[in-house]
Symmetry: C2
Subunit: 305 residues, 2 copies
């Protein structure tokens, strides 16, 4: 590998990504003769690549569109931005959980001092058990903050391999245990047939009147009717949802006026934060490329992911 | 020291504190003949202590009232609950800051999906510099969570001695630097003549349109008029305040209707959380007492604190 790799950045100027290339010791170059390409656009914008290009960095975590367009080849290494945006989503999930347990949604709506004080029951994450159902990249990125806040993390992963920093990790087959064992539950699992309506009346009842449910995964994981009912009865501490079913949540839906609910409109990974996260990934990978190290997020073109 | 100290708990039953004594290996006992007393009441309720009592645990962090009532003596060790409640306040401060940067106050008030999405500008703590002005017990307790969230902490203490985990610590005489250098500022300093109206128009202008101000100290540290003006002009990202000036914040005050403000009614250390924190301190100190170790929060009766 060249010590100072020539990296083409496109489409357009993308000063932030050019800066990231330079911070990593690379040289921003024309496409012709480039060693690598950092591409912030889609598969149809990407020009034909000269043979000199040994590596292409793509901008998104999911790259189904690149496969569908037939733009990935075996002539060079392709990397996706998988995991680059996990920390932004994890931060949002921690923010939602903390806002819930500290009564901030109620306070935010108050227009008088005493109402806020009396209406917002507060608990704490310190000493609490927080379950993360689906502790992949996003769930794992939550663990340092949760443990720093004094919570014990009960992680659930497909196979139950230990999640670093978690007090315990369960396999997905034991997900049913978390509703009794955890004080609060964060949903970070993919939307699959197995996770559809994973959270219904029974699970919410087990979580109980002080428990908060946070969903930053997909709305389909929660039975919305059961949730509305549990909240209205005070049977659940509250629900902080970045994703809903239906989504967008229609005007007049009971969750909009439910004091125990906090809704954010699918903004856990906002576009405002994505460019910074992509620049950080570009810097990391250009540094690795220059040093001849393994890149982060290498696509397996044969496997299709 | 006795291996199984006899500890009197009062006034009343206080099952939570009795449990804490037992978890630490102590025995809950009558006052007569007790080795130690855990007292959850005030100075006037405390009965006369038999000579067998070598140590008294008091329930509050500040103990001016105990000195004023003349109840502290040099016959035995007295411990206050100093620091026991710092973590609860620190958690609230982190919750307020995260809620601010992730736009949760705006979302909490939204009644329609698109309004929440468009009206809540979001930033991130990752890579941000967060100043803690007055990094005493509460400020220090914030550092692990802030660093776990990827922020760099710029601490300010009276003398500038390094705060563990902070990227840099400044002495109080250099407080003026933080408004330019930090992305967000948390006020955790005591209310003194030096900190009165520490934050005015100039400081808010330097913090800028993406900066959040969090106050969990005392309302007097902030010039409320200057804050209202900066928020109305969009010159400040936002303000999350657990304390206000005046306090309580009167009905109809402009901060109640300011979209960039999030007010909690002086609940960073809510009574709901205090019993748990006191029980944890009792458990720790009974364990230390039984082991003959130094206790946490020993009062210097001669010095008066």
């Amino acid at each position: 590998m060249p010590d100072t790799p020539a990296v083409h950045v496109g489409p357009g100027e993308r000063q932030d990504l050019q800066d990231a290339v330079r911070r990593a010791g690379g040289e921003v170059a024309a496409l012709e003769g480039a060693d690598a390409v950092v591409w912030a656009g889609g598969p149809r914008d990407l020009p034909e690549l000269p043979g000199s290009v040994r590596w292409v960095q793509l901008p998104s975590a999911g790259i189904e569109g690149w496969f569908a367009a037939g733009r990935l080849d075996r002539e060079r290494t392709w990397t996706s931005a998988v995991g680059a945006y996990s920390e932004a989503v994890a931060e949002h999930a921690v923010a939602l959980l903390l806002a819930g347990v500290r009564g901030l949604a109620v306070s935010a709506r108050a227009r008088t001092w005493d109402a806020g004080a009396s209406a917002a029951p507060q608990t704490t994450l310190r000493g609490a058990t927080v379950a993360i159902v689906g502790a992949g990249g996003i769930g794992r990125a939550m663990v340092p903050a949760l443990t720093a806040l004094g919570a014990d993390v009960l992680a659930v992963t497909r196979r139950g391999h230990d999640v670093p920093g978690a007090a315990e990790t369960l396999p997905a087959a034991r997900t049913h245990e978390v509703w009794e064992r955890a004080d609060h539950v964060v949903l970070a699992a993919p939307a699959t047939d197995e996770t559809r309506a994973l959270v219904g009346a029974e699970q919410l009842a087990a979580l109980g009147p002080h428990g908060w449910l946070v969903n930053i995964a997909r709305g389909s994981l929660v039975d919305t009717g059961a949730l509305v009912d549990a909240l209205a009865r005070g049977a659940l501490g509250g629900a902080a949802l970045d994703v809903t079913d239906p989504e967008p949540l229609p005007d007049g839906h009971p969750l909009w006026s439910e004091p125990r609910a906090l809704i954010t409109p699918h903004v856990a990974n906002p576009s405002q934060l994505q460019s910074g996260a992509l620049a950080a990934r570009v810097e990391e990978n250009v540094r690795r490329f220059a040093a001849g190290e393994e890149l982060v997020g290498v696509v397996d073109v044969d496997a299709g992911y």
